[in-house]
Each structure stands twice: as structure tokens, then as C-alpha cells.
Subunit: 114 residues, 3 copies
């Protein structure tokens, strides 16, 4: 069965899809922004990537959220809670971790259904 | 294909399932408990959630375990090792990370087959 | 549907597979080695395990890389970039986390298609 990929570089693809499931990882573009703005940016990118792979934000299955500082938990959640369509929230983990760029305050790993 | 969800709030679902695969994340209820007791609690909740989604603990595929302190590794493993049915252990990662509530000593992310 | 497992102990399996998808977690053997050598070792083990489960490194869907020190990011990536077949890179997350053994500088969690 074919693997679909978008935004493929030497290192990673922006999104992969196979047999009805979509996989993607997203980090912020604006590394000087606060957690709320970075979360908005990451979620907007996730929507774009899900669309490329034939899914959407009402089809999330599992999301892992990495926060550089857990003190951003409430700021991130305020954006997240407003973004998730009612009744469709995925299984979700949230843990604190330093990320590849010290300016990243949030990184999200998404598994979704097409 | 339909997504099945249980325990859905604005923020997360306790468990999601789609096309033969179950996804869930579990944290402890008793935030003052030690790592062994929190692990017992998390694993008991995982069993309940797997049952709701038509799976069980002999059908685990991949588990990521986050520990607040890696010094709890042996205490967590003693409970884990006794809980996993012989011959059915999943692929398993274990890493240290601060979690959403400072009282959480363990969080588990589970992918299982129905 | 049957779950295939290889290298199953009381605690974990080296690799599991179900319905066209392979799941595996790999840590280094040489705990005194530097990040580049540990990455080479982990990637070689991943190739072996993928082969056991009927997949290969051109079929990766999602990889999470844990680094003990993010200062090893460039050293790990140099090995990773040369290892991934052109045009087949997976969705990839990379976060910093202390791992089960203080000598582990890298741990990788892989989801791949058969």
C-alpha cells in the first residue's frame, strides 16, 4: 500500500498518510512569539496539513503536546479548547520538554483518520 | 469510517478508536500517591478504557511511559511487569518528563489493537 | 486480527506489528558511546527490526526522537539525514528527555508501514 507524503525534505516530511491514517508533527514558525500565539500558529498549520492529506481537525485520534514550560499550560489550552470541534476531541498527552529550537514553546504530534 | 470516542470533553477524549486501533492516554487520580500506587491506578484505568473500546491488555501495540522522576523506574516496572500478560508485551518507550500536574508521577500513552 | 511480536520479554517487545503497521522502540547498546555512534547503532537496530516485521527504512510513517541533550541535535541529524532514503522521510518529532539509562543519549520510537 502506498505511502503519501507532503513537504518531504532530507530529514522529515510535514505529513505522511497510509491506509486511512495521517501522521504529522508541527512546530511554530514565530520563535519569538508567546505560547498562545505559537499554539495558534501550530494549530493553523495542522489544519492545512490535515487538509493536504484528506483529513480535518474533527478526525483527530491521538495528539501529544510538548510544552517547553508547563507554565504555558493554561495559555495553550485556551487556544486548543476553542479550536477543537465540539464532541471530537482526541486522546491527548501533554508533557514538558525542551525542543529542538530554544524558541519553540510548543510542538504537537498528531495521528488522525482520513 | 467512524471514529469511536469515550469520555469526551472539550479538551480530550479518554479513548478513541478507529479501524481496529484504540488510542488512549491515562494519568493518575491520586496525585499524592507514590509511583507504584499511581502506576496501579493508571493501569487499572487503562484496562477499563480498553474494554470500553473493545480491546484488552493482551492487545497492546505501543506504549510510551512518562515518569516525572526516572528514580521511579523500578517501582513502576515492578507493577508493569506483573500486569502485562505473559508473551504479549508491547513495544515500549520510557522517558522522564514533567507532567501537567506536579502530582503526576506517571503518564501512559497507549496504542492497542481491538 | 493477529498481533506479530519479536523479541518479547516480560516488559516489552522489540517490535510489534498489526494490520500493515509496525511499532518499535530502540535504545543504544553502547552506553559509553557518543551521540553519533549511538544514533548509528539505533538506526542499524531499527533496520534489523523493520526487516523482521516485513518493513524497511523507506516505509517510515512517524518517528519520535528523544535526545538526552539537545546539544547532540546536529550530530544525530548528520547520521539520520544520511540514513533516510531520499524522498521517504517520515513525520518526525525531536525532543529532549532524560532516558531510562543515564548512558542513553538517544531513543527512537518508530511507526512504519509494512
Amino acid at each position: 500500500m502506498t505511502i503519501e507524503r507532503h513537504g518531504t525534505t532530507t530529514r522529515y516530511s510535514d505529513v505522511t498518510a497510509h491506509d486511512g491514517i495521517v501522521y504529522l508533527v508541527e512546530v511554530p514558525q514565530s520563535i519569538a512569539a508567546n505560547a498562545a500565539d505559537q499554539t495558534r500558529e501550530v494549530l493553523a498549520s495542522i489544519e492545512t496539513l490535515l487538509a493536504k492529506a484528506g483529513s480535518d481537525k474533527s478526525r483527530l485520534l491521538l495528539v501529544t503536546i510538548y510544552l517547553r514550560d508547563m507554565s504555558d499550560y493554561d495559555a495553550m489550552n485556551a487556544v486548543w479548547d476553542a479550536w477543537v470541534p465540539a464532541g471530537t476531541a482526541p486522546a491527548r498527552a501533554c508533557v514538558q520538554a525542551h525542543l529542538a529550537n530554544p524558541g519553540y514553546r510548543v510542538e504537537m504530534v498528531v495521528t488522525a483518520a482520513r
